[in-house]
Amino acid sequence: MTTIVVTGIGATSCLGGNARDTWEALLRRESGIRLLTEEWVETHELPVKFAGRVKVPASEVLERIEIKRLDPSAQLAVIAAREAWADAGAPTDPKERVLVDFATGIGGLNTLLDAWDVLKEKGPRRVLPMTIPMLMPNAAAAAISMDLQTRGGARTCVSACASGTESISNAVDHLRAGIADVVICGGTESVIHPLPIAAFAAMHALSTRNDDPARASRPYDKDRDGFVLGEGAAVLILETKEHAEARGAKIYAEIAGGSVSSDAHHITAPDPEGNGAARAVLDALTDAGVTPADVNYINAHATSTPVGDIAEYTALHKVFGDRIKEIPVSATKSATGHLLGGTGALEAMFTVLSVHEKIAAPTLNLDNQDEAIPLDVVIEPRPLPDSIVAISNSFGFGGHNAVIVVKSI
């Protein structure tokens, strides 16, 4: 079977303005979660006053015109894509053979809501003509394609918080199908705005630990009380191993397979039996040509919600049985918050780096592990063996489950 490899990575997150800074801050066990300083936090008396803003604002990286023409979610996508493309050595393939498959959970929400404010306050003649092309959910994929002048298609993958992982699974399929030689995949999200904060808070999905933001995202901890909103983007450059070797590219890891499933259970609640998630894991492993017995590292979805963390554990136990207690598990949202449509991409990048550098990423804030979730959670960075088969899970509202398998080369 065709072997698909990662040859470039890029990211911007609350931990750092690029992939390396993000990764090193994660390994130092830093949290990117901070109190929000925007006036609207108090104006609207929001019940949640913190989030994971990108550490390096896009305005410090992009030209002023790029900032004006792109929604923040697309700005972050372009920053991460440029880094990943350069990291991959800027492949010189015909641009018709380079495909973008890129994820967002929500799209250009800031643009949409800002334009709505203008309409209400100043009337329709003040609504800017760039509003629609900035708010459309495919804007990030289109921006990457235009910025890097790739012409092999710019697809958008939208499946809530599973989007980023699904995009990478899609990329594997595109390369296996031979419809592209290089795929730029990943995801982005930037929705730190009073409306989504109010809306997520209304469903009691967010942590309200306002007095201690850096300790608010605490997957598997008894005192976890919801997820923490993060923003950022991550991009992976994928190609076949044969193609990467032919052009002398460095190889981080193999994306051995991926799969998606849907719960058909509830629009927001995970299936408490974990059936859909377990099926996604099993199908991804089958797709990768490995078995549950081969898996020796997991980057979990682990959002820090009371029911979500248990449901994922239930699914993992279904797949791995009692051996799940022996597999190291990282819950990196404890440091980054939850990037929604970007989260699977960032966690895929962490998993790729874990496999490449043979080190399991740490999990923050696990002071009292929930007894109902007896996992081997990685607290401090921990060495991994030479031969690694890892999975990275993502689950989203709508009952979306997406899993990829990352292997050492």
Partner: protein, 82 residues
Amino acid sequence: MAQSKDEVLAGLAALVNDETGVPVESVVFGKSFADDLDIDSISMMTIVVNAEEQFDVKIPDDKVSELKTVDDAVNYIVSAQS
């Protein structure tokens, strides 16, 4: 409040620069928005929206297509203000 042609030109140049990055010193009388300054139609529409607000004038949609040069725009704004 009516402004002089030079004042309108300076304000318009700032709007053009803000939207497109074209240097303010390039936005001078005699230049065509599309042919000389390479401003596309969606940028032009944005500049018009912002100009209406900044200069407190109304530029009807059927007028916008007639504003082909910097002179056209400045003259229109000055006459609309007075």
